[in-house]
Every structure is written in structure tokens, then in C-alpha cells.
């Protein structure tokens, strides 16, 4: 559905994206993560045809992103990373204007629009210049979803939303996903990506450094379990199967296991008297930190 091939887009300050390659299949939710300045928004702007790449082709449903922008926009919904609307307009006037600019039949769109406004508790009577950051974000979400597009490109869609609205947004994404929508979502909020996305691309300094489905990405990592034993366990047995561990007391351990050997660990532990078995789940965040190291921890 969305395909980026060997694409380079360089800015005069040396930043940009370099030899980028990735695909988002139909019906898939693709999480695009990386810190600020890594090239997420640049990629998205290139996909929308706001800036052309120096090299390579990007297509959406077979349409060239640089040339067929108008045709792409018919099937696309977009939430920009930086919201700047016509400040002097009221919310509903803006949505009306966008509907007219899209040329969609009012009747069809109105129902979806009303349900979105209700879901996000948006006050559309307000002038945009007087809206808070979160309100504007909600307005952007409504504008992007109200024509029921089959592809959605969302640039940090939940920034500025309060936790309740973030949850409602995640629900919306899951609903749209069930309805077969193709979604590309950039984010630096990991739990939201974990909950919604099938696959994740991690971008750093304009290059994708890891691209995998969520399950593979997580299982490739070392899992850690906090285990409390009733009697001191047979440490030799654990060592023999190659599990490393950290010992807190003679009965409290943190045991590490590669993602694909958890079954084996369970078998080994079956011979012991286990009182507590807690998985110390590694989040995407930790995976992410592994790639970014100290630099990201500071931020």
C-alpha cells in the first residue's frame, strides 16, 4: 500500500533521510518511531508530496507521491505533526471548508464527523485561535478521519491529548484497523505503538535501523523474570541450559532468557518449588533505548 524505495531527501543542513526503504502492507498498522529530528516528519512530508526526494520513489497504492498528490489525497487522511489551521475560522466552519475542498457528499461524511466530534468531546463552535493545543489536535484528528479514508498517515497523532483522549484514540485506531485500514503512525509514545501496531520501523539519523513485526521485535530481545523460590534452586541446572541470572537473596532471582527459549525455562523451573513468577516485561522503550543508548536517555 505504502512503499518507499531507496529514497534520499537531503536538506541543506545535512539532515534528511537516506536510502530509506520500507513497505506498509494493506490492512497493516505500521509504527514509525524515533527521536525528534530523526527524519520521521521528513518521511511523512515526502509521502504527502510537500517536499520531493532527491533520489528514489515513494508510492501510495501505486500512485507516485511526488506527482499524483491530488489522487492520493482522495484516499488519504493525514494528521500533521505541527498543527496550523486557519486561525480566524471556527472549528465547524473549518470542517465544512475541508469537506467542500474534498468535494465529498455532505450527508455521508456528516455522520462519521458527528460521531468523531462526540468521541473526542470537541467543541467546534470555538474559534481555532482560541483553542488549546489538545483541542486543535482533536480537530486535526476529526479532519483526517471524517471522510473515511482507506489509508491514514498520522504524525504524532496523540501529542497534546490527555490520557483519556489518548486511550480513545488508540480505540479508534484499533477499530479502523479491524475495518481494514492501512495506517502509518509516527510516534515516540511506545505504549501506544505497542498497543496498536503490527510492525515497527525504528529510524535514527535518517536511516531505518530496525524494522520488524512487534512480536519478532520483542521476542528477539532477552526476557527477564523475577522468580521467588520456596527452597534454594538447583543453579547448576539453570547454568547447564545457558540461562543467566542475577541473585538477590538465596531464594530471590532475576532470570534472563532469550525470547525464543522461554518454553525451555519453564520446563527447567518445573522441577523447582516456584512461589512467584513475574515477567519483568521489556517494553519497546527499552528496545528503543538499546538502539539509542545514552543519547536517548538524556532526552
Amino acid at each position: 500500500m505504502i512503499e518507499v524505495k531507496d529514497t534520499t531527501l537531503k536538506y541543506s543542513n545535512g539532515k534528511g533521510i537516506f536510502d530509506l526503504n520500507f513497505k506498509v502492507k494493506k490492512g497493516e498498522v505500521f509504527g514509525y518511531i524515533g527521536p525528534n529530528g530523526a527524519g520521521k516528519t521528513t518521511t511523512i512530508r515526502m509521502l504527502l508530496g510537500f517536499s520531493r526526494s532527491n533520489k528514489g520513489v515513494a508510492t501510495i497504492k501505486g500512485l507516485n507521491c511526488a506527482k499524483q498528490t491530488a489522487s492520493i489525497q482522495k484516499i488519504l487522511g493525514y494528521v500533521p505533526g505541527e498543527i496550523a489551521f486557519f486561525e480566524e475560522m471556527r472549528g465547524n466552519a473549518f470542517l465544512n471548508f475541508m469537506t467542500q475542498m474534498r468535494g465529498t457528499k455532505q450527508a455521508k461524511g456528516l455522520k462519521i464527523r458527528e460521531s468523531l466530534i462526540e468521541r473526542f468531546e470537541l467543541d467546534t463552535r470555538e474559534k481555532i485561535e482560541r483553542m488549546s493545543r489538545g483541542m486543535k489536535q482533536k480537530l486535526a484528528i476529526v479532519a483526517a478521519f471524517m471522510h473515511d479514508p482507506e489509508i491514514l498517515i498520522l504524525d504524532e497523532p496523540t501529542s497534546g491529548l490527555d490520557p483519556l483522549m489518548q486511550t480513545r484514540f488508540v480505540d479508534l485506531i484499533l477499530e479502523e484497523k479491524r475495518r481494514g485500514k492501512t495506517i502509518l503512525m509516527s510516534s515516540h509514545r511506545f505504549e501506544e505503538v505497542e498497543r496498536t501496531c503490527d510492525r515497527v520501523g525504528i529510524i535514527k539519523e535518517g536511516r531505518i535501523i530496525e524494522e520488524n513485526d512487534i512480536i519478532a521485535l520483542k521476542s528477539a530481545e532477552t526476557k527477564s523474570y523475577l522468580v521467588k523460590f520456596g527452597t534454594p534452586p538447583n543453579l547448576e541446572e539453570l547454568r547447564r541450559y545457558g540461562f543467566s541470572f542475577k541473585q538477590f537473596t538465596e531464594k530471590d532471582f532475576e532470570i534472563f532468557s532469550p525470547g525464543d527459549r522461554i518454553g525451555l525455562l519453564v520446563k527447567v523451573l518445573a522441577n523447582e518449588k516456584v512461589l512467584v513468577f513475574n515477567s519483568n516485561t521489556q517494553t519497546l522503550e527499552e528496545i528503543f533505548l538499546k538502539h539509542y543508548g545514552k543519547e536517548a536517555k538524556k532526552a
Binding site: 512530508r45 489522487s71 489525497q73 474534498r102 468535494g103
Partner: protein, 266 residues
């Protein structure tokens, strides 16, 4: 052309148009009111007090004694450059660069409309509103003249005068529009969009000061338009008009071409 966008342009900029339309109409009415059919009027007396060179620089040449010539000399000699120029500068910047700079242009481009369509709409509004401005002047001019000095105004010549002045203003408007399309930053858009018309204006004025500075006029777009010569029929209106039309078309095409391919910072 996108109709909803065109309507939005009207809504956003109608006040600007009305302000200029009203100001210019008042000025035109006052000038017509000052006309004295017997020849010498209060304004003539005032002008005769000023140094000849200053009067020439301001573009008030030897004043024709007919009403049409009087209007051509006093209104279409100086004011017709100044007021519409300011209008074009403000509007040109508003139509493209301001939205690009603020980022709201993103909303337009996230609808199924190509950049060409959007820019053509914005340019069309620029030209349309200038036509409207000059239509107002045309009808106000005729209305006031017929009321005060029935039958004295040569309507066909006054029409020609307005038509050429309108085309000239459209050319200036397109200069402003062109720079509005090139630059993503309103400061640069305004610097060039205002700088170049003002430069033309100054060159035209300085060129009128003396014989030795007359060559400066050759570098100004404004010098192609000379109200007095149009009234006396010493210049071919067709040549001037086609020159302006060429400038308008070239700049419009240039604006579209540049805007279509440029990287937008939004």
C-alpha cells in the same frame, strides 16, 4: 480553480478590497469635484505655486482643460500608482506566503486538489479583485462626473484609461504574487514583493524630475502607462495593453511553475 477556496479568499480579503475601493473612490470624487469647467481652479492655483519640477515628479503634468484630461492628469498620473500598489503588496503576501509561513497551507494540500489548482485559484483571486477595484472606480468616476458636470466626461476614453490602469495594476499584482509563491518566509516575500513595485514607483517619479534623470523611467513598469498620452491619443493603447498582458501571463505562469516544484516547509 477551486470554488470553495475562491469563496474563502473573497471572505478573507473583501474588507481589504472595500477599504481601498472606498478610499480611492473618495479621492476620485474629490478630484472631480475640484474641476472647474472655466479652466482655472483652486487646484491649478495651488499647483502653480509649487516648483515645476516637483509638479512633474509627482506626475501632474500640464493639466488638460477637459474633464477627462483633468482626471487623467491628477488621478491617473500619481495616485493610481500608489494606492493599488499598496493593495497588491498586502494581498499578494496574504494569498500564498502568509499561509505557507504559518503552516495553514497544509490544510489545502491535504485535500484532493493539486498545487497547480490551488495556486491558479489564488492568482485568479488577485486578478479578479483588481478588476473589481477598477470597476468600482469606473462607475464611481462616471457617476460623480455625470452628477456634477453632465456630459463633460468622455466615457469611452475614461473607460480606456481605466482598462489600461487596471492591466498595469494586475501586472504589479502579479509581481507581488510571484514573490509570494517563491518565498516561504513572509519577510522575503514582502521584501521583494514590495521592494520591486516601490522601486518602479521611485524610478518613475525621479525620471519625471528633469531631462537628465528621464532615462530612469525606462526601467520602470509604471512609465509604460501614461494617462495624459492615452487621453490625447498620442500612444497606442493596444501596444501598452498587450505589453501588460504579456507581463501578467509570464509572471502567472512563472509563479505556477515555481510553486509546483518547490519544497514546502510545512
Amino acid at each position: 480553480m477551486s470554488l470553495p477556496l475562491f469563496l474563502k479568499d473573497i471572505k478573507n480579503n473583501i474588507v481589504l478590497l472595500l477599504v481601498f475601493g472606498i478610499l480611492m473612490s473618495i479621492y476620485l470624487s474629490v478630484i472631480i469635484y475640484m474641476y472647474d469647467p472655466s479652466g482655472a481652479g483652486a487646484l491649478m492655483d495651488m499647483l502653480s505655486l509649487l516648483p515645476v519640477r516637483l509638479v512633474n515628479a509627482l506626475g501632474f503634468p500640464t493639466v488638460d482643460t477637459g474633464l477627462t484630461g483633468f482626471i487623467a492628469g491628477l488621478y491617473y498620473g500619481f495616485l493610481i500608482y500608489l494606492f493599488p500598489m499598496v493593495y497588491c503588496i498586502v494581498l499578494g503576501n496574504r494569498l500564498v506566503a502568509k499561509w505557507v509561513y504559518e503552516g495553514s497551507f497544509i490544510s489545502l494540500l491535504s485535500t484532493p486538489n493539486s498545487r497547480i489548482k490551488i495556486i491558479v485559484t489564488q492568482g485568479a483571486y488577485m486578478l479578479f479583485s483588481i478588476i473589481l477595484l477598477f470597476s468600482i472606480l469606473y462607475f464611481v468616476g462616471i457617476g460623480v462626473s455625470e452628477n456634477l458636470f453632465k456630459g463633460l466626461l468622455d466615457i469611452s476614453v475614461f473607460g480606456k484609461l481605466n482598462f489600461s490602469a487596471c492591466l498595469m495594476t494586475m501586472a504589479i499584482g502579479m509581481i507581488c504574487f510571484f514573490f509570494s509563491c517563491i518565498f516561504n518566509d513572509t519577510r522575503l516575500s514582502l521584501a521583494f514583493g514590495a521592494g520591486i513595485p516601490v522601486l518602479f514607483f521611485l524610478l518613475n517619479m525621479l525620471g519625471g524630475l528633469s531631462e537628465r534623470t528621464a532615462f530612469l523611467k525606462d526601467y520602470s513598469l509604471y512609465s509604460s502607462f501614461n494617462g495624459m498620452n492615452l487621453v490625447s491619443g498620442t500612444v497606442n493603447a493596444g501596444t501598452i495593453n498587450s505589453f501588460f498582458i504579456m507581463v501578467i501571463l509570464l509572471l502567472f505562469a512563472g509563479s505556477i511553475a515555481i510553486f509546483q516544484f518547490k519544497r514546502l516547509p510545512i
